[in-house]
């Protein structure tokens, strides 16, 4: 008896030209933990919506085949009836919460399944404690941060103890600590309550160790349905963009089978004599350009000169383009969000800003862009800060792409040929690039000397993240300072040379990215976790290069040429 069964399901959205689901058949047993993997647009979210009954009830369109959830056929039962069997959490937490207080939000699902007052009170209490949101129960939902909202929405999906939980990127707004906690809470729920989990996630390294099964999708079809190790083997051969960093690193070295988590990877490396016992040898050196001072992007100097010429300020001085001195942001009758932050950005410097949810990252960027005025302290900017906020769609007010941004700006972001399209018809990545074109501006406008992005990788697959990292590196090469607030350490390692860690409104660490991220446990990459931060290796390529040097018996810092060889 399966808790979820798809029988040859096909589906096409009302205005779409291609099918979102094609001949999908799958069965999920009670207590199974399934991860749905795939690139953006592969049909993962549609699969979840079909399981929740929203497809076709809410979206309309052409539907074939059958979906059965807990014995209920979705063609015959409404999403409300299916909701009693399956708890669902979709991507946007702002619309996932429907009541005004957290307590009422959690109580709603229980009241709707006819639970008595005692059961409602107990369910709300237990679920809130289990998910660590007990302190939020009497808070107004409109005041919660994105991360808090996501946890509340998850609690609301779980509170009625459904037999099946459907989750669409539940960690996308969470910091690494909260994201890892959430996955382990799901695993605990899965093990202790026998709840089946269907989880869509792009950061597979976060959840594969907890999964029983991985279903990979491409173009609306299931292309792989296997255990995590089998999936990684398939990904290595067919879709490298879906490999986890650990699997990629060992794949580059030709080591098989692919590890599903840090523990397996370390055991494999130890078995091959490439890793010493924990704590025996900790090589914490910086890759290539190491040192205490923030590293500079290799082409930053040349780019800086060109930008200064552009601004008519070619005076040869190494002046920061952005300087924040003792910046405070204090809310009246509320907390201090920033507490005396000092930050300088040099031209051409790619910087990553990391920290927990609510640490003050977004506020810092808003101050840099002049959207907020500091209550104390000062901010000086040599030029303009182009800020891309979290939702690119918020920038669009017109019916055509070419009405939103100048031709030069569209060319810069690679949207030159799409001027006649409606902004809302663009893909997620294209929408983000259009928003970047808008904030960068055209020829007649003051050039942006600082490019700031707030959580740009939310909902992106690994291939899109790599493309964005390359694009940002090119902007840094041109001489712009680039600062990105992100929870995604893998993305940060791909483009930044300097990392700034912010906690409770204070900058608590600021240094070379290899030094800062390699030494951490949460704010770090899977490669660094596997290698225990050795020699600042953060990416799979750097890790593989380091291990090759170890194989060859070479010491010293990781050679950048070997990294490039490995990458090739």
């Amino acid at each position: 008896m399966s808790v979820l069964a798809f029988e040859r399901v096909g589906y096409r959205y009302p205005t779409a030209r291609v099918d979102a689901l094609r001949d999908v058949s799958l069965s999920v047993a009670p207590g199974e933990f399934c991860v749905i993997a795939g690139l953006s647009g592969s049909g993962k979210s549609t699969l979840l919506r079909a399981a929740a009954g929203l497809v076709p009830h809410f979206h309309g369109g052409g539907f074939s085949g059958s979906v059965t959830v807990g014995g209920l056929d979705t063609r015959e039962h409404t999403p409300a009836a299916i909701g009693a069997v399956a708890g669902t959490l979709l991507q946007d937490p702002e619309t996932q919460v429907v009541m005004n207080t957290v307590r009422a939000e959690l109580a709603l699902a229980l009241e709707n399944v006819g639970a008595g007052a005692v059961s409602v009170a107990r369910g709300v209490e237990e679920t809130s404690l289990a998910l660590g949101i007990g302190h939020l129960l009497d808070r107004v939902t409109a005041e919660l941060s994105g991360g808090e909202l996501q946890r509340v929405a998850l609690a609301a999906a779980l509170v009625a103890r459904p037999a099946l939980v459907l989750l669409d990127e539940p960690t996308s707004q969470l910091d690494p600590v909260a994201g890892d906690e959430l996955i382990w809470q799901l695993r605990r729920l899965n093990q202790e309550a026998d709840t089946a989990i269907l989880l869509v996630e792009h950061r597979l390294e976060r959840c594969l160790a907890a999964a029983d099964r991985v279903i990979a999708m491409a173009d609306g079809s299931i292309v792989c349905d296997s255990d995590p190790r089998g999936f990684l083997e398939w990904a290595g051969e067919s879709e490298p963009a879906l490999q986890t960093p650990g699997a990629r690193m060992l794949d580059l070295l030709g080591l098989r089978p692919s590890p599903t988590g840090v523990k397996q990877a370390r055991a494999m490396l130890r078995a091959h004599g490439l890793l010493t016992a924990p704590g025996v040898c900790r090589e914490r050196h910086i890759v290539a350009s190491g040192g205490a001072q923030p590293a500079r992007h290799p082409l930053a100097q040349a780019g800086r000169s060109s930008l200064h010429r552009l601004l008519g300020k070619d005076d040869g001085q190494d002046k920061p383009v952005l300087s924040m001195r003792g910046v405070w942001h204090e809310i009246r009758d509320g907390p201090a969000i920033l507490r005396g932050c000092d930050l300088e950005l040099q031209p051409g410097e790619p910087v990553v800003l990391m920290g927990r949810n609510g640490a003050g990252k977004s506020t810092l960027l808003r101050h840099a862009a002049g959207l907020l005025e500091p209550t104390r302290g000062s901010i000086k900017c040599d030029g303009r800060v182009a800020l891309l906020l979290q939702n690119p769609g918020d920038y669009f007010l017109h019916e055509r792409v070419d009405a939103e941004a100048s031709p030069a700006a569209l060319e810069l972001v690679g949207l030159g040929g799409l001027g006649a399209r409606h902004p809302r018809d663009l893909s997620g990545g294209q929408r983000q690039r259009l928003a970047l074109a808008i904030v960068l501006g055209g020829d007649g406008e003051q050039p942006a000397t600082v490019l700031a992005l707030d959580e740009p990788t939310r909902g992106m697959d690994r291939a899109a993240k790599r493309a964005l990292a390359r694009w940002l590196s090119r902007r840094a090469d041109e001489g712009r300072a680039v600062i990105v607030a992100t929870h995604d350490a893998e993305f940060a390692a791909g483009f930044a040379t300097r990392a700034v860690l912010i906690a409770d409104g204070r900058i608590i660490a600021d240094g070379p990215v290899a030094e800062l991220l390699a030494g951490g446990w949460y704010f770090t990459t899977e490669t660094a976790r596997i290698l225990d931060g050795a020699r600042g290796a953060l990416t799979p390529e750097q890790g593989a290069a380091l291990l090759r040097q170890r194989m060859a018996g070479e010491g010293g810092p990781v050679d950048a040429r070997i990294v490039e060889e490995v990458r090739q």
């Binding site: 009954g53 999403p79 009422a104 709603l108 006819g114 007052a117 409109a142 920038y395 669009f396």
Partner: protein, 297 residues
């Protein structure tokens, strides 16, 4: 621009917040009803003070003060319109001649006084309603409403959730426009563009919220059973105050103790009994705030 989102319920440490939502709503409704029953300017003035003092004691005074500022033009407009259209007063203080559609316009003292009374009444009703918005838990109210009319409650739930969501959308859109190199369109044009974008996204947003309500099984099981909760000291105190406030107003109206007439000539009772009524109304309205035990969230 979109300041409406700041007028929402937040559980604060006050006796009024500590009452159940239905009682808090009844208390606000009693103050509003009082303003509709009485016409005596002295009593209306005392009611206005009582509402403001209650808001201050409930720590939402700044929210009401903000609305008071916004309401002043509306209050002045009410007085002005009444002065221009009323033909019932006898004490003319200005003759403005023939104003076409309005005919012969004579400004009278009585029209000014009655305009002020209407404005005062409007102000009290508006602020009392706002006091309810800020202090009565909307989820509790909607739950109570669901037991009476599930479908209407669904519409109300969608609307109450959608308003802050759209408010947040509008704020985000406005912030994004400020990130444009030219600072985005300014003035009325900029505001209209943001309102247009927010409204065009409202359908998608309402579908999202409706989808979530559907998935949570809203209304699948019909009427929701009521949770039994013992009446707190604050529930009792505010319920008693609400009954007493309405009782005093009804008594004043029927006994004509606080009689007031604007037309054709202004006549108002200012007997000691009116002052006693006014003092009693004020004291009864604020008495429940004295007991501050158990008010923390």
């Amino acid at each position: 621009m979109f300041s409406g989102a700041s007028f929402f319920y937040r559980r604060l440490p006050s006796p009024l917040h500590a009452t159940r939502a239905v009682v808090a709503a009844a208390y606000g409704a009693a103050l509003a009803a009082c303003a509709l029953i009485t016409e005596n300017p002295l009593l209306l003035g005392v009611l206005l003070l009582a509402v403001l003092a209650a808001a201050s004691a409930a720590k939402v005074g700044w929210q009401l003060a903000g609305v008071l500022r916004l309401a002043l033009p509306m209050v002045l407009m009410t007085v002005l319109i009444n002065v221009l259209v009323s033909r019932n007063g006898l004490t003319v203080f200005a003759r403005l001649g023939d104003w076409g559609v309005l005919g012969q316009v004579d400004l009278t003292v009585e029209a000014v006084v009655y305009g002020c009374v209407m404005a005062l009444r409007l102000l009290v009703v508006m602020l009392a309603c706002l006091l309810v918005v800020c202090t009565a838990n909307p989820d509790e109210l909607l739950l109570a409403f669901r037991r009476i009319s599930p479908h209407s409650a669904l519409t109300a739930t969608l609307a109450t959730r959608l308003i802050p969501v759209l408010g947040q959308d509008a704020r985000r859109l406005a912030e994004a426009q400020r990130c444009r190199p030219d600072g985005g369109a300014r003035g009325m044009r900029g505001k209209l563009a943001i309102v247009g974008a927010t409204v065009s996204g409202a359908l998608d947003r309402s579908l999202d919220v409706a989808a979530v309500l559907e998935m949570r099984g809203y209304g699948a099981r019909g009427r929701v059973p009521a949770a039994r909760r013992a009446l707190s000291r604050h529930d009792l105190a505010f319920a008693a105050a609400a009954v007493a406030i309405v009782g005093l107003s009804v008594f004043a109206a029927f006994s004509r103790t606080a009689a007031f007439q604007a037309y054709p000539l202004v006549s108002m009772s200012l007997s000691p009994a009116v002052f006693v009524l006014a003092t009693l109304t004020f004291a009864v309205a604020l008495a429940p705030f004295v007991d501050r035990r158990g008010i923390e969230p």
